[in-house]
Structure formats: C-alpha cells, structure tokens
C-alpha cells in the first residue's frame, strides 16, 4: 500500500504547530497504525529529519498510552479499537490520512501527537481508590457479589484511560472516564464506605480541568472499550445523592486527598 499522511507537527507546548505531508510507500495491510508510523519515522530519521513523536507502550490495546485522531475520529475509523490495534487493512491503497493529537484544554500538546494527560491522574488521586487494608488474600467467595453487578463493575473497569472520550467530546468533558473509574468501585462492596465522598471528590476534581456533559454521546462512540454513558448517569445520580448523604463531610475525601481543591 502507498499512502499519504498529513501529520500534526508541533515542537513543544508553546509552538503553534502545523500539518506536514509525508509519503508512506510500501505499507503492508498487516501492519498496525503505529507500525506504519514506525516505518515513516525510519524514513524521516534516514533523511536526517526528526521523527514524529507519539505515545505508545503495550501495543495490545490495554495500556491506554496510544491515541490520536485519525481522519477526524479518535483512534480512527474502526469501532472498539485502539490506535495500536488498528490495522492498515482498514485503509485503502492511495488513501490520504490525517493524524492529529487529542484536542482539549486539559490535554495540552507536549510534542507532535503526544499530549499531557495528567489531569486524569489528578482525578484518580481524588478518589479512584479504596482505603481497605489489604492483608493476605482472603478466601474465595467470602464477599458475595451478584454476577450482574460484577459484570457491570468489570465493564466500567475496562477503561484504559486513553482519553478518547475527552478527545471526542465537543466540550472537552471527561465524564465517561470519571464515571467509569467511580462506578467500578461504587458498584462493588469494597467501594461502599467511601462511595459518596469518592464521587464528590472525583467530580469536583474533574470539573477543575474539563468541560461539562451535554449528553451528545460522542464519547461512547469513540471509546475503544465500549464504555456506556449509562455510567455517566450513575455518576450524576450518585453525585446528587451525595449532596444529602455526605452533608457534614465526615469522610470528605477532597480533604483526605491532600492538596485540597478548596
């Protein structure tokens, strides 16, 4: 396959950035999108130019490192597929492909296609954990959890934190990520003690950096793990309930979280 790439090049956070066109000849359809970029980078290096910077790690669709907007869609044209798992057989010989980084105020561009996703870490720090003491492994089935609940919690826990939801959202909102991270704990018995303070702290932290949800549903279309906006509704419900459950903030996680939003 011979392709033409239009790639966003940006030297650093303060650089304005621009698109550059590259030829990508000799691509096989079994290559992943990242392997195709590797081939293009080899050419660039051989011709003395700087390689295209992009995040990647596991290259098997579970780490959440890779991610770029390919032809106007986060992670490209194939549903439920991360960029590293997107194979070139999804494109045709002679195609022109536009590649650009996630766009959101919370995800400033570090270089080329690499963005800074630390606000996601800040949301996790605010409440994406439990404080149960973890000693030796307990007996299996000591804590009964209905199968349906376990399945739902697992669906939420499938979030790899890639940021495609934020990239897809016209408001730059992180509701899908935050709700998945809150729900996978809030559905399970281990998450109950801190349920109300967790949702409050995580939402408050999220709102510092991200936009608000207008129920477009673009995030669930873009999510490579198929996470449903039903989790966003669950987060909204828990946040509303928390207004009444945690009024005295006896276990205010936003205080426990250290640096404090207030």
């Amino acid at each position: 396959m011979n392709l033409t790439l239009k790639v966003w090049r940006q030297r650093g956070p303060s650089d304005a950035g621009h698109f550059e066109a590259y030829d990508a000849p000799g691509i096989t359809e079994d290559m992943s999108f990242l392997e195709m970029l590797d081939v293009v980078n080899e050419q660039l290096i051989h011709s003395g130019r700087e390689a295209i910077a992009f995040d990647h790690d596991c290259r098997e669709g579970i780490c959440g490192s890779c991610g770029m907007v390919i032809n106007g869609k986060p992670h490209g044209p194939k549903k439920l597929t991360t960029t590293c798992q997107l194979h070139m057989r999804n494109f045709r010989d002679g195609d022109s492909i536009t590649v650009e980084p996630w766009r959101a105020a919370a995800f400033p561009v570090v270089k080329d296609l690499v963005v800074d996703r630390r606000p996601f870490d800040a949301i996790i720090q605010a409440g994406g954990w439990i404080t149960a003491p973890t000693g030796g492994a307990q007996d299996a089935n000591l804590t009964p959890i209905p199968k349906a609940v376990a399945d739902q919690a697992f669906d939420a826990a499938a979030c790899i934190g890639c940021g495609a939801c934020v990239a897809a959202c016209p408001n730059g909102a992180a509701q899908l990520f935050t709700s998945a991270k809150a729900a996978h704990l809030n559905l399970l018995p281990q998450g109950q003690p801190e349920r109300w303070s967790r949702v409050t702290a995580m939402v408050d932290r999220m709102e510092e950096y991200f936009g608000s949800c207008t129920n477009y549903g673009e995030c669930q279309q873009a999510c490579p793990k198929g996470i449903s906006i039903d989790f966003i509704a669950m987060m909204n419900r828990d946040y509303l309930k928390a207004q009444f459950k945690d009024r005295k903030r006896l276990v205010g996680a936003s205080d426990l979280a250290g640096d404090g939003a207030g």
Binding site: G72, P170, R205, E207, E208, Y216, N236, Y239, A261
Partner: protein, 253 residues
Amino acid sequence: MSSMPGRAGAGPVAPVHQKGPRRFWIQQFYGSALGKKAVMALTGIIGLGFVFMHMAGNLKIYTGENADGVKHIDEYGEWLRTLLEPAVPHTGTLWLLRGILIIAVLLHIHAAITLSMINRRARPTGYKGGRTYGLGGTYVARSMRITGILVAAFIVFHLFDLTWGPANPDFERGQVFHNVTSSLDRWWVAGIYIVGNLALGLHLWHGVWSLFQSLGLNNPRFNTWRRGLAWGFTVLVVGANLTFPIAILSGAV
C-alpha cells in the same frame, strides 16, 4: 488549583473552572457543573409542564363557545385569573405560576450560559484536520444553544403579540380568541409561530431525552423508552401547536 503528578518537562495544566471556598451546600451544588445540569433538567421539566398545559389550553380554540356566546378559550383565560379564588386574590395563583416559570427560565438560561463558557474554555482549539461526528442526534444536541435562543426570541415576540399586544394592531385585552385569530391571520406572523415551534421541537427532542441522563434517572431496562417519550412528547406538543397557525391561515377557524 491542585498539584499535578509529575511529568518531566511539562508545566502545569491550567484549570478551566475555579471553585471558591466552601459555601452553603446549595451554592456549592449550583457551583458545580453537574449541579447546574441538574438545575437545567429540573427547570426544563417545569418548562415541559408549561408547554404541555399551554398547548392543551389552546385546543379550546376548536371547541366553540358556551351558551352565553362566550368563546371557550376566553372563558378558560378568565378562569386562569380566578384560580383558587377566594382563598387567594384575583390572579394570585396565575402570578404564582408565572413567578415559578420566570425563575425557572432565568435559571435555565443562566446555567446554559455559564456551562457554555466553561465548555468553550475546556475546548479552546478544535480539530484542524476536521472531526467526523458519529451520531445523527448529535446535530440536534449541538444545536441546543441555537434552538434555545430561537425559542427565547419567539417567546418575547409571542408576549408582545398576544400577552401585551403592541405587536398586534387589533389587540383587545382579555379577548383571547379574537387576538389569536386576528394576529395569526397575517402570513408572516403565522410563519414566525411555525418556525418558533419547530425550534421548540428540536429543543424538546434532545431535552426530554437528556434530562433523565442529567438527573441520573437511568436504567438500562427503560432507556429505550426515553427516546420514545422524547418523540411522543415533541410530536404531541409541536404537532398540536402547529395546527393553530395553519388552521387560522387556511380559514378553518
């Protein structure tokens, strides 16, 4: 601003929404974007109640007049002023309802504007290479601001036309049937009513579905009903409202 976990060579990420120190819980709640969305949903429900009752009341245009020769809709208009009399003074209940409605509309607009400003800050640059959106419904959802402004402008015209009268040369206070028929007989006024109601329809179609999400009234078992409810409510209210200008223009009323 909270501290950012470390990443070599990267500066701080600027927040888009600064929250002040802790306040009374309802201020704190409305200060959050999720709280504002809940307020939008609740005030939207008040608006839904109003447009439904308004539509149902207007249907009396078609039911004729009573034994004294007073049009049913004029009778209904007068009845609204006398609601719960003598326990409350004349027009007391009407003004209470109007007060709730005015507060709801103002809150709805305030929340919409402040949320839009946050969202604009959260997404300062769009996709330079273009962005392909996935859903058909997204276009209706993304036009909520435009349809909202159109509906608000239409309501202002509607008040000048049929509540206060300056937009209608034949206006006579209290003569509802006469005012409606004389005003909507002008083709351009009928046009404004049709456009205003179509904008209302788009706004309702997303709003009715969306409010369940904002309030967390979501259950995978019943989610398919939400779209149906949005369709049904929109078609009922807008469909009935559209018959009024059409019936008057065509001379059926």
